[in-house]
Symmetry: C2
Subunit: 238 residues, 2 copies
DNA sequence: CGACCACTTGATCATGCTCAACTAGCGTGG
DNA sequence: CCACGCTAGTTGAGCATGATCAAGTGGTCG
């Protein structure tokens, strides 16, 4: 994805914060008005194309960010090229691992996205100063831990069909537009494979299988409709 | 494991704390002398036999604990019986998920163990009061998250041989007795299988395979020697 | 129109699962 | 003290799920 690029849009200000997706999210929701405006003065809005790397595995953590639009995948790669997606983050999640110098994973935009970038030192100072921010980040870490463990069960013990159904269920839960359950896949087949510990061929076969069984409709390559959520849920044993 | 039982030993006191494995661990290391003695007055030492469940999946969290001796496995089971170990905790780790009412996983002693049990309300109050305790638990959560993600890579992308080698490596790292690298497996073959997302037969075959290749020696069913740690590490691509 | 890319589909292969027999260790009771 | 049963682990034979390799499809962009 060498066409992928990122672009600095505007210097964040408290004015920009008012209409921000992440205004009441994990980080910004925990700050006082004064802190929010200080953080805003030192933040940058970045527009990030799908496929663009935000943090490289093994690189130094020199900033943190909020996702303000789009989906970000957290990824681990092995020296021989095998890779595994170990987390998906949706707006308005926080991305980064405070107080650790080197990142053990990469973060990459799965869809076109926008992030709000904070300087490392400022955010770390605020975490130390702000009880509520500390608590809030702790809570997000625990939620991510639960999600990671749920996914370990999927990776270790579910069949290919159950894995694919689990992913669709997960994405539907985040897309949830009231009644209808139609959504865009934020991931390509290759990325789905990397998330589920499968190959792209198996993912493709399981998707067509779910389609033939009438559990999903594949409107087009990236758009799925689930006529009956319960039928999908039934594909996920346990 | 219906022989497994747990037994309350003594009411913890600050006297007992002085020689405790977990005295400078995640929880107790973050407390003031006064808090430590208050927590001690309300804590119970419990001796827990291998196989005994400490927290049941789906149960209410009514207490937290420190592991003061032994190894605890965190486990998820599906309604059809398939199960996956999603974490191993060693003394002096903290066990429990603060501020969440229902446990999404079970905790079970893998070896004979001892834990120090804290009442829920007291510990939660101390977390709210104590900046350093909050920070310390946050740090443990982030470490567990890293470990979980590392394990996701193993579950999703490594071969059976690599998986078994990874587990031996993990256990060796925790047993590390200076020079020699000999250790007791805290897990049965069935538990290893549940940790690695394999069957016990595959685990057994891979262990004999590693033995035949000279990478490990199986002194007896639970005791392993690794003559050359590097040779073991080479089995883990990545 | 053609090249390219992401995806699908098919045929064959192999890793790891299933089912089954066998072994070793260990505690219990005759 | 040995026979017995029980548990945990090992080993083998055959099978199936999902991987690999390869060809084909469809949409997009120049």
């Amino acid at each position: 994805m060498d066409v992928a690029r990122s672009e600095v849009l505007v210097i964040g200000t408290s004015v920009a914060c008012r209409s921000c997706q992440a205004r009441h999210g994990v980080v910004c929701g925990a700050l006082s008005a004064g802190q929010l405006s200080e953080l805003g003065r030192h933040s940058l809005r970045r527009k990030v194309d799908a496929g663009c790397e935000i943090i490289a595995q093994g690189s130094e953590n020199s900033f943190y960010s909020n996702i303000t639009r789009g989906v970000v995948k957290l990824c681990k790669v092995m020296s021989d090229g095998r890779q595994q997606i170990v987390g998906l983050q949706f707006a308005p999640d926080f991305v980064g691992r405070p107080f650790v110098r080197e990142s053990t994973l990469s973060a990459e935009a799965a869809t076109d996205a926008e992030i709000c970038v904070f300087p490392r030192n400022l955010l770390e100072r605020m975490i130390l100063e702000t009880r509520e921010l500390q608590r809030s980040l702790h809570a997000q870490a625990l939620n991510e831990l639960d999600a990671a463990r749920e996914w370990m069960l999927t990776l270790g013990r579910r069949t290919a069909e159950e894995k694919v159904a689990s992913l669709l269920h997960l994405i539907a839960a985040h897309a949830e537009t009231a009644t209808s359950t139609a959504f865009d896949l934020p991931l390509s087949r290759a990325e789905i494979a990397d998330f589920l510990g499968l190959t792209i061929e198996t993912v493709s076969r399981q998707l067509t299988r779910l389609r033939k069984e009438g559990v999903i409709r594949i409107e087009n390559i990236r758009h799925i409709t689930v006529p009956d959520m319960d039928a999908l849920a039934k594909k996920i044993s346990g």
